[in-house]
């Protein structure tokens, strides 16, 4: 560091001087309103000196880190952070924070190139790839274990559970749309239409015909899948933007039909008192309708509104995991690989004997089926549905989940759902700035991870170890 040190010291000194010159009026003096005597002022030169010294050390630390002198920078950062966070009494709380954060910043800056190098070599080495794969697998299992245990966590109050059910619904929708958009590369802007078909199928069949939740669930899936085929058949020869516009139109048509076909759907009034899901015939309510018993009676537990919520939570958890499992399996089958190939190059796919229309149609129908099942769950959870719930913004949010998560990434959908559905709820304290913060978060993700949170694509299949003497 020899010849560079004097110039660094000079730079740091200059920065400190500027800080002192600016700070002398802002920090150095403080006015008090002493009653009777008017304003007087006091000197705070200790504060100023500490702040200027912090800036000097901080600047020096950043310069050292930028030069690649990791250890001196780390020492400076540790000293600064240690003083800031330590028990030493400083004149103000602000100085504590200032020094601690400054120290952290230097440490972070010093470690950044190292961490980045480690990350990139890890991504490129074979061992790193394997570790990453194993890590992803473990991460997935830990998430699942966490999700199963969540209702019993001490912080799992009604609000948390409500939010978790909501997030899981969007995870399932995201996974469903991921088949269409992420794997098959078909931009679908009207995905919510299939969600609506599923929801209305459940609402109508349960209120009009009195069928149960578990019977309607697959029916709703099939109903939505047939709508998927119905829409897909004429439009799937379109590509990219054109397909997006047609699907957007389809989403609106479904919504308008729901509003205007009053005889069937009750129009804008929606459908009320939809029965909730049952467990072996037991309902989740304080009193059971004739011929049924309540869950609390069946189990001999005292009634609590939370039981219903926890039950709903486990249903959607199972449905979402089933969606994921199904998709993972499909990816390994020829049709799943054909989807991915189709996304990359349709012409090449034709040249390999793949029928693009039927391949796309399968993706569309399967994606629609999961939306229908999720919609059916939604209706059973809400007990009331109306066309209001199936507006375009829902399609946009689900699409944003898929895109932000990194097209085709299953774990990315989970992260993006938690971010997109969870954050606005957590940001609620920001009041009217909520959507602003939400937008900022989205912009930041797209700037720093332009290909989505998880952009690495796993090969769906690997060859077995090389067999010796394979030259035939």
């Amino acid at each position: 560091m020899g010849p560079r040190l004097p110039s660094m010291l000079k730079d740091a000194g200059l920065t400190a001087f500027v800080a002192a010159a600016l700070g002398i009026f802002i920090v150095g003096f403080r006015t008090y309103d002493v009653s009777g005597k008017g304003l007087t002022f006091d000197y705070q030169f200790t504060d100023l000196a500490i702040a200027v010294a912090t800036i000097f050390v901080g600047r020096l630390g950043l310069l050292l880190a930028a030069e690649g002198l990791r250890w001196p920078a780390l020492v400076l950062g540790a000293v600064l952070g240690g003083i800031g966070a330590g028990p030493l009494a400083l004149p103000s709380d602000f100085l504590h924070w200032f020094m601690a954060l400054g120290g952290l910043l230097i440490i972070g800056r010093a470690l950044w190139p190292w961490a980045r190098q480690r990350m990139s070599t890890a991504q490129h080495s074979r061992r790193g790839l394997l570790l990453g794969r194993a890590g992803a697998k473990w991460f997935g299992w830990i998430l699942i274990a966490g999700a199963v245990a969540l209702p019993f966590a001490p912080f799992a109050d009604q609000k948390t559970m409500d939010l978790s059910v909501l997030i899981l619904t969007y995870i399932m929708l995201g996974w469903g749309l991921n088949i269409v958009v992420g794997l098959a590369g078909l931009l679908d802007l009207g995905y919510v239409a299939f969600y609506a078909v599923g929801a209305y199928t459940y609402a109508l069949l349960s209120t009009e015909l009195g069928l149960g939740f578990w019977i309607i669930l697959p029916l709703a899936g099939m109903m939505a899948a047939s709508f998927g085929i119905l829409l897909g058949f004429p439009v799937l020869r379109l590509r990219g933007d054109y397909l997006a516009i047609v699907t957007l139109g389809f989403g609106e048509i479904i919504r308008l039909v729901l509003i205007n076909w009053v005889d069937l759907t009750h129009g804008p009034d929606g459908i009320r008192s939809i029965p909730g899901p049952t467990l072996f015939g037991a309902v989740f309510a304080e009193t059971a309708p004739a011929g049924h018993q309540t869950f609390s009676e069946m189990m001999g537990l005292p009634f609590s509104a939370n039981q219903r919520l926890i039950f709903l939570y486990y249903i959607i958890l199972v449905l979402a995991l089933a969606t994921n499992l199904f998709t993972q399996r499909l990816r390994r089958l020829p049709v799943g690989r054909a989807w991915e190939a189709l996304r990359e190059d349709e012409t090449a796919c034709r040249a390999l004997g793949i029928n693009p229309t039927s391949t796309k149609l399968t993706a569309f129908a399967i994606g629609a089926m999961f939306a229908g099942i999720a919609g059916s769950f939604f209706a059973a959870k809400q007990r009331f549905i109306s066309p209001e719930s199936f507006v375009f913004i829902e399609s946009a949010i689900i699409l944003a989940i898929v895109v932000l998560g990194g097209m085709g990434s299953q774990i990315g959908v989970v992260l993006a759902s938690v971010l997109l559905i969870g954050l606005p709820e957590w940001f609620r304290e920001l009041g009217s700035y909520r959507m602003l913060a939400f937008g900022l978060a989205m912009v930041l993700i797209m700037v720093f991870r332009p290909r989505g949170l998880i952009s690495h694509r796993e090969p769906s299949l690997r060859l077995h170890p090389v067999r010796p003497g394979g030259d035939g």
Binding site: E344, A351, L352, G353, P459, R462, L463, G472
Partner: protein
């Protein structure tokens, strides 16, 4: 020729909108042959190959595969009848690994053949075996061409159509690719129809050749003869390939 040629093109006319690209092309490829079609940029070589594959469709004339009219069939159905194509610009799946690309090639084949076919492709192109788990997009141009050919072979074709396999490759690599094409014909018994701008290599390899000029067949004959033809020499071989 006692039985029908494996591929016969009869008076095919192809249009792009109002613009006519092929003005009645006739050609035949017998089973086991290597046949090439040479021509300058814009002569209609790629259009001819694509017309054989049904996209775009011929507006007049017929394409016969083993005597069966395949003119109106969609591409994927033609491919399912044993015609594999190595398209212009290779069009490998760049986000998929070499192995996955080869798997995609085997889509229409009984999976029981897969490992045997894979070994054959790897034996023909050992470089692909070395790069098995590498993503297609990270391969060199020559390796991508090998992958495109290997992928086409995975569909167990009777007839292999190649569109300018030498495009954008270094001379040494071009030589390797043409040697491989020769081996595919001799060792695998695959009939080959090859469209090329690189007249020297193509005519030297081919049993017979056609010369396409402005959408019409101008000359045809055995490869060696065309190679010696004065017109061919001046139009396609001037400037000296040794």
């Amino acid at each position: 020729m006692p039985d029908a040629p494996i591929l016969a093109v009869r008076g095919v006319m192809t249009f792009y909108g109002a613009i006519q690209a092929l003005h009645g092309v006739d050609l035949e490829v017998a089973r086991g042959e290597i046949v090439t079609m040479i021509g300058a940029n814009g002569a209609g070589k790629s259009t001819l190959l694509m017309t054989i594959c049904g996209n775009p469709r011929a507006r007049a004339g017929a394409v016969l595969l083993d005597g069966e009219d395949i003119t109106g069939l969609p591409t994927y159905k033609i491919v399912q009848r044993g015609v594999a194509q190595v398209p212009e610009g290779r069009r490998i799946f760049s986000h998929m690994s070499v192995f996955e690309n080869l798997q995609m090639g085997a889509t229409i084949v009984d999976p029981a053949h897969f490992h045997h076919d894979l070994d054959r492709v790897f034996a023909m192109f050992p470089r692909l075996a070395e790069r098995r788990d590498q993503r297609g997009g990270t391969l060199s141009g020559g390796e991508q061409q090998m992958l495109a050919i290997g992928r086409a072979l995975m569909s167990r074709p009777r007839l292999l159509l190649l569109d300018e396999p030498s495009l954008g490759l270094a001379p040494l690599v071009v030589k390797q690719i043409f040697e491989a094409i020769g081996r595919i014909a001799r060792e695998e018994g695959v009939t080959i129809f090859l469209v090329e701008q690189n007249a020297y290599h193509a005519l030297r390899l081919a049993d017979r050749g056609y010369v396409l000029v402005n959408g019409r067949v101008r000359l045809s004959g055995p490869g060696k003869e065309l190679l010696a033809n004065a017109e061919v020499r001046s139009a396609y071989l001037e400037g000296g390939h040794a």
